[in-house]
Symmetry: C2
Subunit: 261 residues, 2 copies
């Protein structure tokens, strides 16, 4: 597997055609796309091309508008509040993906409306040159482990899971629980070469053609676990508080009931 | 960045010297290690070399012994109970890393006692050939997203975080919150080429030499977030239940107090 950052991508502006910009950068770089290549595209440039910019004085309002459900909140050491929320894409993360870095002064950027659709449009266009897959990536923190990794929030023409169901290990036992999220791993590999500061928002992954398939493969939306299936659908403090309130009411009612007997 | 699975690794047995086995496989493959290479080594072969095998009829006991703290439990659809626990390494995951796949019949494998130390020993030995870094990887599920990705549970001679503190984005604003966990991203990249079934437990990453440094760089233990700093230190159901019990007692006491007035 080879992974490199595509050099020469210009600053992306609302209305830009990403396929054209990528195709021009690839041509200038001199390494044509080949069948089986996977492009990892930072969601930020997808958002910019799609004009998902709002004024920065609306940042908190923008976060609220993108939020479907508050998962956890905590006061930051330096002031302000960290809001871990589920956004309208189902993705759980800080600030609903509302991004204030590398944007024009006084503006923030929202996530693409439908990153799987964005990936599909881009992949369809680039498939005029070669049968490529497209991942739209974003940077997310995670519970239990410090720091962030890049994950897939959009995907087209590439398998998001390496399905090992029904396969067996080398001792012949079924590998029932292993379902590697290769889309997230591809996004992570892309981040290693793109970096956050280099101004290279596109990585090209070559050598993983076994994961590339039809454009209508399930997208990254299928990675999102439904809250009712999630053991961590709510922050520990938030769940504790909700339980306490319920318990308090029940305890008071129980005491009254006992006293009446 | 190039990433490939090292072919020709034999089945690892207790007492084997991993550095010798890797060096022999590299020599047979014909691509010598060079300065800046990073080896991503599946924890399973580290455990095997270190003899971390216990009898399978002790599996539940082994999980309990490796568990420091139960984070969440849930009944599985197919029967049995999924236990998400923090193990003695601080890592939160299912079954405390106790592994029953690809092990000899009737046995399970525990995680290495100290994966950072294992990585350091291996890197020190391999540095006789070239200045390499070593990541010890394991496969973990995660909240909110289906499937698993490989992460770093041990590291030596390689930076685990790409520290962007104090750096600025292209508009000159400080990148205060971005701290990519490159060790986890390297483990993910390695998993893409190793696969779970191919019998290739070692991946070599070339081209990320900027992350390689002294052997005494902080290890993967520093990735683990302390529970008291973690908004998801306890499952939602578990936290709710604890809150309910506290609330119930408080509600009952409050009712009694009010009635006495």
């Amino acid at each position: 597997m080879s992974v490199w950052a595509l050099p020469g991508m210009p600053e992306v502006r609302p209305g830009d055609d990403l396929a054209v910009l990528i195709r021009e950068a690839v041509a200038a770089d001199g390494y044509p796309l080949v069948d089986g290549d996977i492009l990892v595209v930072t969601s930020k440039i997808v958002s910019k091309a799609e004009g998902r910019v709002v004024r920065a004085d609306d940042r908190e309002a923008a976060i609220t508008a993108e939020t479907v459900r508050i998962v956890a909140t905590r006061e930051r050491a330096g002031g302000g509040i960290t809001r871990i929320v589920q956004n309208r894409l189902g993705i759980v993360g800080a600030a609903a993906g509302v991004d204030a870095s590398n944007t024009a002064e006084g503006t923030v950027l929202l996530l693409p409306l439908d990153p799987d659709a964005s990936a599909r449009t881009l992949a369809a266009e680039l498939r005029r040159d070669a049968k490529v897959g497209v991942i739209v990536s974003d940077t997310l923190g995670r519970p239990w482990r410090d720091g962030q990794t890049d994950v897939a929030i959009g995907a087209a023409g590439v398998r998001v899971f390496d399905e090992l169901h029904g396969e067996v290990d080398s001792a012949g036992r079924p590998l029932i629980v292993t379902r590697p999220c290769v889309a997230d791993e591809l996004a992570a590999a892309g981040d290693l070469v793109k970096g956050k500061l280099s101004g290279c928002p596109v990585a090209i992954v070559r050598g993983m053609g076994r994961l590339v398939g039809p454009l209508d493969l399930p997208g990254a939306a299928t990675i999102v676990r439904a809250p009712e299936k999630d053991m961590f659908r709510l922050g520990a403090d938030e769940a504790h508080r909700a339980g306490y309130d319920e318990g308090f009411a029940a305890g008071r009612a129980a005491a009254r009931g006992e006293d009446r007997r």
